[in-house]
Symmetry: C2
Subunit: 406 residues, 2 copies
């Protein structure tokens, strides 16, 4: 049940509303905020005063734009005061970044790692080392663009994460089952920052929804094809989490009962038909070739290699099958494809559109835009940081009360 509204919640809600608006929209004039929110000038003045005092936004002197009337000062997100630590755990790499409140990646360090260091314990050690280096950079003088305070830590993981207790239920490519990363990591880092874990595709989805190809969408379906195929659904800017935090696992949509058996134990999952390995296999390349093989494949496709084109044909067919189901169930206003799927989209788009037109039975007039993600690899970084910013956007005053030099 939604909780009851109190008078004080109004302030909290409006504070969050304005902050969220400026974050999504980017720098905007004070009067534009008045227009967008419907609140009065006095109310906005009060809210912006508080947000400025909390050092979450800054007001710049107005820039006369040639229209009559007194010009309105421009409000932007303050990128100097608070930021978040974004940690990305991938199969062959670990990355630690600092993201400022406006969604900019300020610092980022990536380090590849051998397959034998995939355990949770090794991962934590490696993360701690990178965090140390990033923190040095942050503290070092001369770097002025860096936020002075970290609000929290967001971790992206290629696996299923239970929202309730931050436990990684299963991460097939890492070989993790019911793994607790957040607890030991917090202990190791020992900086008291709150840690939240999220599924990489879900985080990418939220980032694209906030700052990328999903801006303005009321129901975005996000599909990310990396080694596996993941997905996320964002409704009016709010990620669909599901009952246990598992929503969006589109990779294991059954599409082909006669298909190959999947890592998950089932048969004919979407992932086994449209994932990286399927694409490489059909093109006659090594299934486990990784990034190199993918680049090779894309080059072949550019050259018009028949085997590669045939593989893309199959890809389009199976993409259409899965997308049809998802579109029928969710009725999104757009589909955003990221990772490998975003890269092959230009090649498969025409056939994909044709197949979708055949398979979707109603309202064929309206074509659902299928777009490539626009943030690239940054999406997951920004999305992970959003895990830490979430509390802030929910209740700015409460969170900032815990920051030292507020």
């Amino acid at each position: 049940m939604q909780s009851a509204a109190r008078a004080s919640q109004v302030r909290r809600s409006n504070l969050a509303l304005v902050l969220d608006l400026v974050r999504r929209h980017g720098p905007m004039s004070r009067s534009a905020i008045v227009a967008a929110t419907g609140l009065t000038r006095s109310a906005i003045a009060g809210l912006l005063g508080e947000l400025t005092e909390l050092r979450l936004v800054v007001e710049s002197p107005p820039a006369p734009d040639g229209s009559p009337g007194r010009p309105s000062p421009v409000v932007s997100v303050d990128s100097q005061h608070v930021g978040a630590l974004a940690i990305e755990v991938m199969v062959d790499e670990i990355a630690v970044s600092i993201v400022s409140l406006d969604g900019a990646i300020v610092t980022s360090i990536r380090r590849s790692r051998p397959r034998r260091r995939l355990s949770v314990r090794h991962t934590i050690t490696d993360i701690a080392a990178l965090v140390e280096r990033v923190d040095e950079q942050r503290r070092s003088v001369g770097r002025s663009g860096t936020p002075r305070n970290l609000l929290g830590i967001g971790v992206s993981v290629p696996g299923v994460v239970r929202g309730a207790d931050n436990i990684i239920v299963v991460a097939p490519n890492l070989g993790w089952v019911e793994a607790d990363l957040a607890g030991p990591l917090a202990e190791t880092l020992g900086n008291g920052l709150a840690i939240r874990i999220g599924n990489d595709a879900d985080l990418g989805a939220q980032a694209e929804s906030l700052f990328g190809a999903g801006v303005g969408s009321d129901l975005m379906l996000f599909i990310s094809g990396e080694v596996g195929v993941g997905g996320g659904v964002v409704i009016d800017g709010v990620p669909l989490v599901g009952h246990s935090g598992f929503a969006g696992e589109v990779g294991h949509l059954p599409v082909n009962p006669d298909g190959r058996s999947c890592r998950c134990g089932a048969t004919g999952c979407w992932e086994t038909e449209v994932g990286e390995q399927a694409l490489l296999r059909r093109a006659g390349l090594a299934e486990d070739g990784g990034t190199l093989a993918v680049e090779r494949f894309l080059a072949l496709a550019d050259e018009g290699n028949p085997l590669a084109l045939a593989a893309l044909n199959e890809e389009a067919r199976w993409l259409a099958v899965g997308l049809t189901g998802l579109i029928n169930v969710l009725d999104p206003d757009r589909v955003v494809m990221a990772g490998l799927l975003g890269r092959v989209l230009p090649y498969v788009k025409p056939q994909l559109d044709r197949e979708l037109a055949i398979r979707r039975f109603r309202d064929a007039q309206r074509e659902i835009p299928i777009l490539a993600a626009s943030l690239g690899a940054a999406a997951i970084t920004v999305g992970a940081a959003e895990l830490a910013f979430g509390a802030l956007v929910d209740d700015p005053a409460r969170v900032m009360a815990t920051v030292p030099s507020a």
Copy 2:
């Protein structure tokens, strides 16, 4: 974007909250409302005073229950003052009912109709005649349980409805395409009541969520198998409508690329594998046998007829395939099956559970309850009425201002 909070919206929100609570929970003591909402006794007193004045709830004298302390009066929904007209358009039948605010069906008239009267024009004529009769009953003296004011009209249709303009995009079994039922119907009835149209499965889903097997769910997946297979998703009591109002069309989830071609033009839709016709066909009965054949089939299954049991086996298999996908994408806390699927559920449940356990790859510990709907045919009636009550639960004061004898 969510709109800004104002002081007056607090009142509106809390008024709606309390009304919604009492509607969902049923009669409850005033102190229970205080506990459930977290508001103070004074605040609840004010809100209940207003709701009582609006004649939406009634307070009965407290019934001492043996516990110490002053007993609290019992608050229940006032079923006497406002109601809604629920109209169900089905293939072989039309029904018009009056539903009171507490979700009780007060009056209901059903009339079967021949296949040749399926056109929109005929449908409107038939509805008007039934509404006339229902209205007579309502006005007739002696019927004291009937609400004195109708707030609006909700219409359930077995087809895809575009939320924005109330247009029935397509209703395959009625042969309708881009049909406007609401406009002409409003003109014919001429009573000025607002008409809203909804998909039958969506409405059933909402009703089950409010008063049936979905009570207390945070993400319910509802699947209704009548002639076709429809579905609905209800998140925290709010139906998922999608961008255009099409969400929940699970019947056309592609599950079998080698399957039969579907009415929708695609191939291997879930509906063609688990729908009524598939079940009858596999049992060796006439596909188009309708209700009679279904009853025959269930009788055969009860007797242990091998062909019927084999058909149920196949049914369970394909149910599992579709459900796996939906569960992976949506992560519901329960699945509610209605119509024919609800009736065959007891037969297929064991095998369905086994197949789901194999196919679902993670968190296998937690079994997702699969329940039969508990409202039966009443679900759609109640759900249709909810289309009319929706505005009330959203902003009670505004809506009641338009009711005459408020």
